[in-house]
């Protein structure tokens, strides 16, 4: 019965008034990074098929990925990958019942952001 026409009634404000917190912000960022990485994987597959095809196709995508813009996208994608990885790790830990208190979860959220930055810096410098 959920799709019965319930009229055009307004919703009570939720996003506008709820104070953003480490838990909710980290959760939405895990989702945003997930979708962003899906788009990023399109770029990776593009690079692969170009490398398999021809010099000119490869030149285009390689030039794109090695320009400063491409470097920025790659760095952001690396951060997103690590952040998302730790976010999903946190979800798996929660699913098995550990670390469910708020302060531990907030600590993990902050640690996630920090470690992602560190790992990204490592990757950018080394590779």
């Amino acid at each position: 019965m959920a799709d019965v026409n319930r009229g055009n009634r307004p919703l009570s404000p939720h996003l506008m008034i709820y104070r953003p917190q480490w838990t909710s912000m980290s959760s939405i960022f895990v989702r945003i990074t997930g979708i962003g990485l899906l788009l990023g994987s399109i770029l990776v597959v593009w690079w692969l098929i170009a490398a398999a095809t021809s010099e000119s196709a490869f030149g285009f995508i390689d030039g794109l990925l090695r320009s400063w813009f491409g470097d920025l996208i790659m760095a952001l994608a690396t951060w997103a990958l690590f952040y998302h990885m730790f976010g999903r790790l946190r979800h798996v830990i929660w699913d098995f019942g550990y670390m469910l208190d708020v302060d531990k979860s907030e600590l993990f959220a902050k640690a996630m952001v920090l470690i992602s930055f560190l790992l990204t810096a490592f990757v950018v410098i080394v590779l």
Partner: protein
């Protein structure tokens, strides 16, 4: 591994439909990816930045190809399932169904194209 009778396969799914299976698939791929992501970042990072010939030579060795292929399959299925969850949360009705179809199509296309490219370079 369907050690189920036909009846058991049909019943018992309830209103969650394939939600439980989806849930465990996400957990499984998340854990697998914990290991695969460092490998993938390293492999892709070493590959990116070479000339055309260097990249082709890099991907004709077995180890980078296998890591890239396995990572691509697991990554793309994982991200598609996540995007499907997000779509189920925010969209409803016909738009939801069409978007889910589109996402699945995109996922299979990406996997096919990626595997083809890797196979072309490796063999």
């Amino acid at each position: 591994m369907a050690y189920l009778t036909d009846r058991k396969r049909a019943e018992g799914l309830g209103s969650a439909k394939s939600g439980t299976k989806h849930f465990w698939k996400m957990i499984g791929s998340s854990i697998a990816l914990q290991v695969m992501i460092p490998l993938f970042v390293f492999t892709f990072g070493m590959g990116l930045g070479g000339t055309f010939e260097e990249v082709q030579a890099y991907f004709s060795k077995p180890l980078p190809v296998i890591i890239m292929a396995a990572s691509l399959i697991v990554l793309i299925s994982h991200f598609t399932a996540e995007a499907a969850e997000a779509v189920e949360d925010y969209m409803h009705g016909m738009a939801e169904k069409l978007t889910l179809l589109g996402l699945n199509a995109l996922a299979y296309t990406l996997i096919a194209v990626g595997l083809f490219a890797l196979a072309r370079m490796a063999l």
